[in-house]
Amino acid sequence: MSDKPEDAPAPVAAEAETGVTSVQRVAARSGKFEALLLPGLAVLTALILGAVFILAANPISRGSWGAIAQDPWGTIGTNWTVLRDSYVALLQGAFGSPATIGEAIRAWQDTGETRPLLDAFRPFAESLTISTPYIFLGLAVALGFRGGLFNIGAEGQLFVGGLASAFVGYSLTGLPWYVHLPLALGAGMAAGGIWAAIPGFLKARTGAHEVINTIMMNWIAFRLTDYLLTGPMGRPDGLPITPLIRESAFLPALFPRPMRVHVGFFLALGAVLLVYWFLWKTTWGFEIRMVGANPRAAKYAGVKIARTIVLTMGLSGALAGLAGASQILGVDHQMVRAFSSGFGFDSIALALLGNSHPVGVLLASLLFGFLRGGAARMQSVASVPVELIRIIQGMVIIFVAAPEIVRGLYRLRAPRQKEAQPATSQSG
């Protein structure tokens, strides 16, 4: 997957033969390293700064500062313990505890009992479960970015995708799973795709900005959900929840309950490959990237800009809709009003952090998924509110969006400006 054509490593040709300076060549190569280094450092910095918030939030830490004059080393020790416990809790919440896992394996070997094993691996599985919609949504926004479009409406597309797949999931009966499940997934994709294609069409036709219109479509999606759940799609007893979907539409779980991780995770991995393949190996993907990188050149090259914009938005929305479908069919099995806790909005951060590359998005999604997965344990064990994770996520975004801060902190040299560029016809 590393052979993204844009930064494929440049085999060094005979120095003297090339008209390009070595500086430029080094810069081109270090661009790839930086693409990994900067987000990595951004995450590290955010975790370090997160410590400040942990100490501020933790009651033991707060109580310890009164004694700093009498017993400075004791105070520092106390705070160190708090920090260590918090991050250990975060890690254990995200990945599971090695001790528990060890015990569970021994118990399984001794007695053949699998229940402890499931419990021990549950945190890890749970983190993967949370990562699943993140991957779809991050891909959705990244695809838009590649096409030069800022799809802020992933959250709304997620909702309509969820609604559509829930409807197909509970209303159709008597179908075998191999018909019902693809239908339900397809309904979610179609709904999300259409929802996003509308602002795409408006942009292509009238030039209306997609940021404004995708935000508006979000509100329509939220209120539509309220209406449908309290009315046509609600339960007969009046609760604002849809009926449960049929088992024939379930995305099968990978393990018995309480593990929730489901086949959708592999669908998400497949989507990563598919989006990569689509963007870099097909003519449609080439057109999308061309329009995104230089619409004037795309027009010169004969690409139909308007059609490409609608296509990009539609595909982006379809991926977001698929996230909704995967949540409904794999995890929730019914649609509720508080369907998503901002997954769609986080996805903008994922695309940024992942540099709009499918593999980058995958890594970013796993990171966010595991942070969210560990947060609950951190709250219960170390009395650090789950919101801390939001703060850390926020800081990651700031550092990714403003790489100068990270470069300054770690004394990294900025990529050199291109040297001695000729006078081209910028004006005229």
């Binding site: 844009e6 390009v20 300076t21 061309m290 050149a297 090259a301 291109k418 016809s425 910028q426 005229g428």
Partner: protein, 509 residues
């Protein structure tokens, strides 16, 4: 008297390359020194070192015989050294006065801007050096030539004694360039000194007192202007003999490939830009379209290539009606288009060379099967074209933004010329390129003609038009004033037509 500025042994290395290799340079007071060299010769690096933007690895700077430590542009300006960059650093929505004051505001009572006093000084400076700039004018309303003067005023306002002008004519029309030369002469007449960076031989010969030629980071020559000729300078710059005039055999025109009748086109604001143009380009000939930039040439080319809507009239290419055709239809019928602005229209800069080479042919065999890109075929063809068109790039996977302007243009030429075409439309094909690249591109255009293609060459460089065209059309105000045989045209005659003066007896085409 010591020279006003002296550089001794300036050396600046970037990883793997010596951009400046022990460069010595002196500038006398009241001198115009031209720094000549191809792109990448180290001119800009040298000036950035002098201006405090790069720290030199070795060497020293002496100002009036005293060693000077220049760490940033503020140091430079304190020592009386100022630079006008290729791309202006002006706030478009500020007035001239506000732009000039920015950073060195004069104050009243410590808190209020004293625009009056500043405007007064600007008027005084402007009058003294013949700059003719209105201090109250909004910068965005000024033509490029005057914006450049605002940059010069900024330096004079800060009492610069040495003015460095980096490729100052690259953004100017020939007339504006002449005006700039007058300004430069009046600057040195009053004791200022000027370093004039350029890669254009003619203008260096026209303005400089002394010419220093850089090649590969070294000074390869320093000659008084009287002892220099275009040929000798070109040889120093490139390191070999250069053909400054294009060798070409008489044209053997065939049937009309491009046939335009009464074409009318509007510009982006809906104003008529092309007003009823009729002409033909025949197979095996080059028709040069001369004219000052902005007389409808851009819109004409866009209309011919399907990028702009035609209001009325008719375009036939190889006999087929292309009046309402899309860019792809025009391309598919056998048209090559070298666009006016290569970075804006002709390339996708972040994309690698290999993708830029199939920018408009990616959709059809052999580069695509259905919707699948055929990477192997694309890469093979790219490798071959990079070789054949001498594109200097470390690899076909290098982002095209990392290439020099000349090599970027070669990428476009390779893409447009390597497929079989009957019509070539080349707009400003050598703008901003160095001598070697210009020679190369001219050669390829003539080669296309000799292969039997019809070539439409649009250029605002009169020399280019004169040396390449079999017939010359002059555009003014959206019309073609005259079409004449290239052999019969003189510079004076074309200059008059370009200024809109019609000839009493139009010559036959």
């Amino acid at each position: 008297m010591p020279p006003i500025l002296e550089l001794r042994g300036m050396t600046k290395a970037f990883p793997g390359v010596l951009a400046n290799d022990h460069i010595d340079l002196t500038l006398a007071q009241g001198e115009i020194l031209a720094l000549l060299g191809e792109n990448g010769a180290g001119k800009t690096t040298l000036m950035n070192v002098l201006y405090g933007l790069y720290a030199p690895d070795e060497g020293e700077i002496l100002v009036r015989g005293e060693k000077a430590e220049i760490r940033d542009p503020n140091d430079a300006i304190r020592r009386g050294i100022g630079m006008v960059h290729q791309h202006f650093m002006l706030v478009p929505v500020f007035t001239v006065t506000e732009n000039v004051m920015l950073g060195v505001e004069s104050m009243r009572a410590g808190v209020f801007l004293d625009r009056q006093a500043a405007a007064e000084r600007i008027r005084e400076i402007s009058g003294r050096f013949g700059l003719e700039v209105d201090p109250e004018a909004m910068v965005e309303d000024l033509p490029v030539g005057l914006q450049q003067r605002v940059e010069i005023i900024k330096l004079l306002y800060r009492e610069a004694e040495v003015l460095i002008l980096d490729e100052p004519t690259s953004v100017l029309t020939p007339q504006e360039a002449d005006e700039l030369f007058k300004v430069i002469r009046s600057l040195v007449a009053q004791g200022k000194s000027v370093i004039f960076i350029s890669h254009k031989l003619k203008e260096v010969l026209a303005i400089a007192d002394r010419i220093v030629v850089l090649r590969g980071g070294k000074v390869v020559g320093s000659v008084p202007v009287e002892q220099a000729t275009e040929q000798s300078l070109a040889k120093m710059m490139v390191g070999r003999d250069v053909l400054l005039t294009v060798e070409r055999k008489p044209a053997k025109p065939g049937e009309a490939v491009l046939d335009v009748a009464d074409l009318q086109v509007k510009d982006d604001h809906g104003h008529p830009a092309v007003r009823g143009i009729t002409f033909q380009v025949r197979a095996g000939e080059i028709l040069g379209v001369a004219g000052v930039q902005g007389n409808g040439q851009t819109q004409l080319v866009e209309a011919l290539t399907g990028l702009r809507r035609v209001e009325s009239g008719r375009i036939l290419i190889t006999g087929q009606d292309m009046t309402r055709a899309s860019p792809r239809q025009v391309e598919a019928i056998g048209t090559s288009h070298v666009p006016e602005d290569r970075q804006r229209d002709g390339l996708v800069l972040p994309f690698p060379v290999v993708e830029n080479l199939v920018l408009n042919t990616y959709y059809a065999p052999p580069y695509a099967k259905g919707a699948l890109l055929q990477e192997k075929a694309i890469a093979e063809s790219a490798t071959e074209q990079v070789e054949r068109y001498d594109v200097r790039t470390p690899s076909i996977y290098e982002p095209v933004s990392n290439l020099s302007g000349g090599n970027q243009q070669k990428v476009i030429v390779a893409r447009e010329f390597s497929r079989p075409t009957r019509l070539v439309i080349a707009s400003q094909p050598t703008r901003g390129l160095d001598v070697g690249s210009i020679e190369y591109i001219h050669g390829r255009l003539v080669e296309k003609r000799d292969e039997g293609a019809a070539v439409l060459l649009v250029s605002s460089e009169l020399d280019e038009i004169l040396s390449l065209s079999d017939r010359i059309a002059v555009m003014f105000g959206g019309e073609i004033l005259d079409i004449m045989p290239g052999s019969a045209a003189t510079k004076e005659q074309l200059g008059l037509l370009m200024a809109g003066v019609r000839q009493p007896a139009p010559s036959a085409a």
